[in-house]
């Protein structure tokens, strides 16, 4: 029993220490960071947070951009993947098995390699510096996993229930809205959260599509701060940015832990 809780403590420390250290750094004065083990009169400060909120543009703009982008991407992914998953789950031919296999392969593909062509598309159709446009590749990148997860969930629903509702004269849209979606709700919620997290964290495509500093997403903005000065890097400022960028996801994970886990594990079992 004691060994178990010791191991558990180690695991929790391993996950949390880097985060706690960021929090500590963000609240420390530069003097306290340089000489942490000596006694300094002024150790704690909120100056870093004040500065990061007064940057041009202020930091919350990035949080706002990432949130908007995440919501649009999640919405688009759902309205495209739900019909496709339904169709895939309801037809049992060799082609659907093939499609499933292709989707699995595509979901594995290291998508960072796609950036050059996607950039070309953005240039050709003038899609740069537009969060709505950026949600198109994000949606496409989220689709394979979303379809795999949702079609597995559709398969769980008995066809009898659906056939009964066909006899009642419900059309496809009514069936989806009144019968299928309410049952599917848990799977949809898990998928949404996974898609939102992906979109919130995506880096290479946002890096190449967005250059206007008012439209940067959080990860790109962070990297920009990192690249801005090579020698005197304002780590206190960084840490404040890290903490502020982490809090929304921290809340999301704490609230939806169960949904995230079931999404990931359903994907593992049925994907």
């Amino acid at each position: 029993m004691r060994r178990k809780s010791a191991l558990l403590t180690i695991i929790l420390m391993w996950s949390l220490l880097p985060l706690i250290f960021q929090l500590y750094t963000s609240l420390s004065t530069p003097e306290a960071l340089i000489r942490p083990f000596s006694s300094i009169s002024e150790r704690w400060t909120l100056e870093n947070y004040r500065q990061i909120l007064n940057l041009n543009p202020p930091f919350w703009v990035y949080l706002f951009n990432s949130t908007i982008l995440g919501l649009i991407t999640t919405f688009l992914t759902l309205i495209i993947s739900i019909p496709a998953s339904y169709a895939l789950a309801r037809s049992k031919t060799k082609t659907t098995e093939g499609i499933r296999l292709i989707l699995f392969g595509v979901a594995l593909f290291p998508y960072v390699l796609l950036f050059l062509s996607l950039l070309q598309i953005a240039r050709e159709f003038n899609l740069g510096n537009n969060l709505f446009a950026l949600s198109i590749p994000y949606t496409a990148l989220s689709l394979p996993l979303a379809i795999l997860l949702l079609s597995a969930a559709f398969k769980e629903i008995s066809t009898e229930l659906e056939e009964a509702s066909i006899l009642e004269g419900f059309n496809l849209f009514q069936r989806l809205k009144l019968i299928l979606l309410p049952i599917l709700w848990p799977a949809i919620a898990s998928t949404s959260i996974l898609v939102f997290i992906f979109s919130w964290n995506e880096f290479p495509i946002a890096l190449t599509w967005i250059s206007n500093s008012n439209l940067l997403t959080l990860p790109v903005a962070m990297a920009r701060i990192a690249g801005s000065s090579v020698y005197s890097i304002p780590y206190g400022l960084y840490a404040a940015a890290t903490v502020m960028g982490s809090v929304p996801l921290l809340i999301l994970v704490l609230i939806y832990q169960r949904k995230i886990v079931s999404g990931l594990t359903q994907g593992a079992i049925k994907g």
Partner: protein, 289 residues
């Protein structure tokens, strides 16, 4: 009807995944850079000859492979241990799972910056502790021999939760009766682990291995933000090299060649790994009575 429902998804997926592959294949046969005035000119496979002789490309292949294999094996090992512990009945399991999941959910670029500070010399906590102990400074992020290990640590921290959760799902799918039956036959904990746990979670291990290896091979954000590929290009990954060629040298033809080349290498090695794993799998299942 089926077709109409699938069509939007199929179109988007082919636009984003299929088009680039065709586009890269076309680009890789052209000289297409700022030197040619951004006009595509046939160059009879000169890109490919250049790739084969490019020291930096092979160095990056080596570095990316070293990074991917080291971090994924460490992650797998830790993930199995973590999953076994999380599988036990413990108080506050929800909160504990949420905390272990946290590193995975945070943006890689954001936490890469955090790790850069942790490994910073001389003010980061690690160097502060070594100096407190009276040791020589390690200069983790400016010593080419060890910087890549720092990137491995950051990657292990970030992605172990993902594998652990998938393996946890595997553990929880094992019916308890199996262990009970083995215990009645006089098996101990160790033999239960070898005979029941490992074979039954191996599909989950396989899945997370394939997924993580592919991801680790495409590593970009973590290294871009943490080290920028340095010191002396020692941590530069393939994706970064392709990125630099396109965005800094504006040599799109060669950048596409790098991507096709590394994709070919990746899929060949995935196929080989698949064969090897299948072989070992059948060996293990043959041993079962």
């Amino acid at each position: 009807m089926t077709l109409i429902l699938i069509l939007p998804a199929a179109l988007l997926i082919s636009l984003v995944f299929l088009f680039p592959l065709v586009h890269y294949l076309w680009l890789s046969s052209k000289a297409f850079s700022v030197m040619t005035g951004l006009v595509a000119i046939n160059n009879n496979g000169a890109n490919w000859i250049r790739l084969l002789n490019d020291q930096r490309f092979w160095q990056d292949i080596y570095q990316t492979t070293r990074f991917a294999i080291t971090s994924v094996s460490l992650e797998l090992l830790l993930a199995i241990i973590i999953a076994i512990i999380l599988d036990q009945r413990i108080k506050g399991r929800g909160l504990i799972r949420a905390i272990t999941l946290l590193p995975w959910a945070l943006p890689t670029a954001v936490m890469a910056l955090g790790w850069r500070w942790i490994f910073n010399s001389p003010y980061g906590p690690i160097e502060q502790i070594t100096s407190l102990l009276g040791l020589e400074p390690i200069n983790i992020l400016s010593t080419p021999e060890i910087t890549w290990m720092a990137t491995v640590i950051a990657d292990v921290w970030k992605t172990t939760p993902f594998i652990a959760l998938i393996i946890l799902a595997g553990l929880q799918s094992i019916p308890y009766d199996l262990y009970e039956a083995l215990r009645l036959e006089g098996g101990n904990q160790y033999s239960a682990f070898i005979k029941i746990t490992i074979p039954l979670i191996s599909p989950y291990i396989f899945l997370s291995l394939v997924f993580r290896l592919a991801q680790a091979f495409g590593v970009f954000d973590l290294i871009q933000v943490m080290t920028g590929g340095g010191p002396a290009s020692s941590t530069e990954s393939i994706a970064m090299y392709a990125y630099i060629n396109a965005m800094r040298f504006l040599d799109f033809g060669y950048s596409a060649t790098i991507m096709i080349g590394s994709f070919l290498l990746l899929s060949t090695s995935c196929f080989l790994a698949y064969l090897i794993i299948n072989q070992t799998k059948s060996l293990i299942s043959n041993q079962k009575p």
